[in-house]
């Protein structure tokens, strides 16, 4: 390799940074570094000033760095039961709504995969269309159905199935309905993607060997569609667990999901250090395991491919 070629090569290596640097720097400053701030402030104390917390790091006149880190906020998270309970409550709500989405979404996706190509694309369009409209407005639309004088109660009263309107608004049921209604499309789409690729001849083989259809489903269809089940469940579980809008608009005072607790701590109590500590704990306890799982899961998939 002549010196000219080498110089050109190195120039190209430097020029790569024109492409790499802008997104790297932007995300560093506006996505990653903010977590550093949250971590730092979670060790501060509230104060009546702007911004409303004490400095963790400070310089005195002699340019000595002082660190005033308090563990009070974390101690508070452990001692005040509200936080532990709302974590568990969010986990539970997200888990069961994901499960129900799976139970409804699986037959829907399976049904779509059994239709002709052109019907498939129309059905997928129908499933995805609500996603392009506003999430907030869909939650509001659901409120119109389940409120006391809403369509559901009117229909049930008219049918004579109930004598008094059901109280659904501001209940746990409403929160579940809201999450399922909002996130069902996220479950159907990845499930469809795996079910569509399913090799039908395997089912025929299983039938030829004497398996009843339910057995063929358990032995063939379900295991082969596991990637879709996992992907769909993640897409529902992750936003559900940090959900703020649905428990606030549809839920009652006892539907304390962690997103709502964080919001109230921040805007209601203006206790930013505690809110930061809640965010850090949430990140470590819930987002961390999901990220690690996904990291290893994608490695596993690559290894198989």
């Amino acid at each position: 390799m002549g010196p000219g070629v080498l110089a050109k090569f190195q120039l190209a290596r430097h020029r790569r940074w024109l492409i790499i640097a802008p997104p790297l720097l932007f995300l560093l400053v506006f996505f990653l570094i903010p977590f550093g701030f949250a971590l730092t402030i979670s060790f501060a104390q509230t104060a009546i000033r702007v911004p409303p917390y004490t400095d963790v790091f400070s310089m005195d006149a002699h340019h000595h760095l002082h660190v005033a880190a308090h563990l009070d906020n974390y101690r508070y998270l452990v001692t005040d039961k509200v936080y532990a309970l709302s974590y568990l409550y969010s986990l539970k709500t997200a888990f069961f709504s994901t499960l129900i989405c799976l139970l409804i979404g699986y037959p829907m996706a399976y049904g779509i995969s059994r239709t002709s190509r052109s019907t498939q694309s129309i059905l997928l369009l129908i499933i995805i269309l609500p996603f392009w409209t506003s999430f907030l407005l869909r939650v509001y639309a659901l409120e119109g159905i389940i409120r006391e004088n809403g369509l559901l109660n009117q229909a049930l009263l008219w049918l004579g199935l109930i004598r008094e309107p059901l109280k659904l608004m501001h209940t746990t049921t409403a929160v579940y309905l809201g999450i399922i209604y909002s996130y069902l499309p996220f479950m159907v789409l990845p499930l469809f993607a795996t079910l569509e690729k399913l090799d039908r001849t395997l089912l025929e083989a299983s039938a030829d060997l004497g398996s009843p259809p339910w057995r063929a489903f358990l032995d063939v269809t379900l295991p082969l569609s596991m990637p879709g089940v996992i992907a769909g469940s993640m897409l529902v579980f992750i936003p559900a667990i940090g959900e703020f809008v649905i428990p606030t608009l549809l839920g009652g005072a006892d539907n304390l999901m962690i997103g709502r607790v964080l919001w109230d701590e921040f805007f209601g109590n203006r206790d930013w250090p505690v809110a930061s500590a809640v965010a850090v704990a949430f990140l470590v306890l819930l987002v961390g395991p999901i990220a690690i799982y996904q990291h290893y899961h994608s490695k596993e998939l690559e290894a198989h491919a």
Binding site: V29, L125, L137, A141, N149
Partner: protein, 276 residues
Amino acid sequence: MNERLPTMLMSVLAIGVALLYIPMLVMIGYSFNASPLVGIWGGFSTHWYRELVRNDQLITAAWLSLRIGFVAATAAMVLGTLAAIALVRFKKFRGRLMLTAMVNAPLVMPEIITGITQLLLLISMLHLFGWPHRGFLTIVLAHVAFCTAYVTVTVQSRLGTADRSLEEAAMDLGSGPVRAFLDTTLPIIAPALASGWLLSFTLSLDDLVISSFVSGPGASTLPMVIFSKVKLGVSPDINALATLIIATVGAGVLIAGVLMRRADQQRLRDLQLAAQ
């Protein structure tokens, strides 16, 4: 094959689709209700649409949201595409792992956490440098951060499957690498850029939680105004607004569907011609 199974699947499918659409259809119906009360039909009226046009607060908020969405989606498209090129084309560079993490993390990050951390950054920046004041700019910056991730993921998959031989041919014919990329690969990945932009625009327009944290006094986006109205109870003009949004999106998706179908058929014809 079992005959009952498809019937059962199709009924669940029909019920599922009905459940997705009934609330929206009811909302559309109520938007033409003369009575402001939910559950009582007072006759057909376009009253709430006239009310909507006169609602300055909603119109100002909608205009702000559209501007934020446009700027944020455009910036995210540029940054996200650069990140995708870096991750697909450059196998080894310092910070690769960090960039990978930063474009995947927003997809699994609860909005409320992103919102809080970004506000803490912006407050500290304001404290240290006296800039930026919370409002239009800070909402755009926060939106670009999470939209970039979605663009990167969209463009990455398209770029990964794009054939490089055309680009190599262009370079053999004397084009520089940038020129070769712009002439050959960019047109191939352009649909991914477009869908990344649209996705970002939609996500930005729809965002309530992050905007609520990073916005300042006087900069209320459309979801923020809708949220505060909806929290207080029934507001029939919101029904009218929702109907307009659903109609716009529906028309847009329909047109996109028809265009894509035409493009597919054109491609099929071209292939058949090429094969002859």
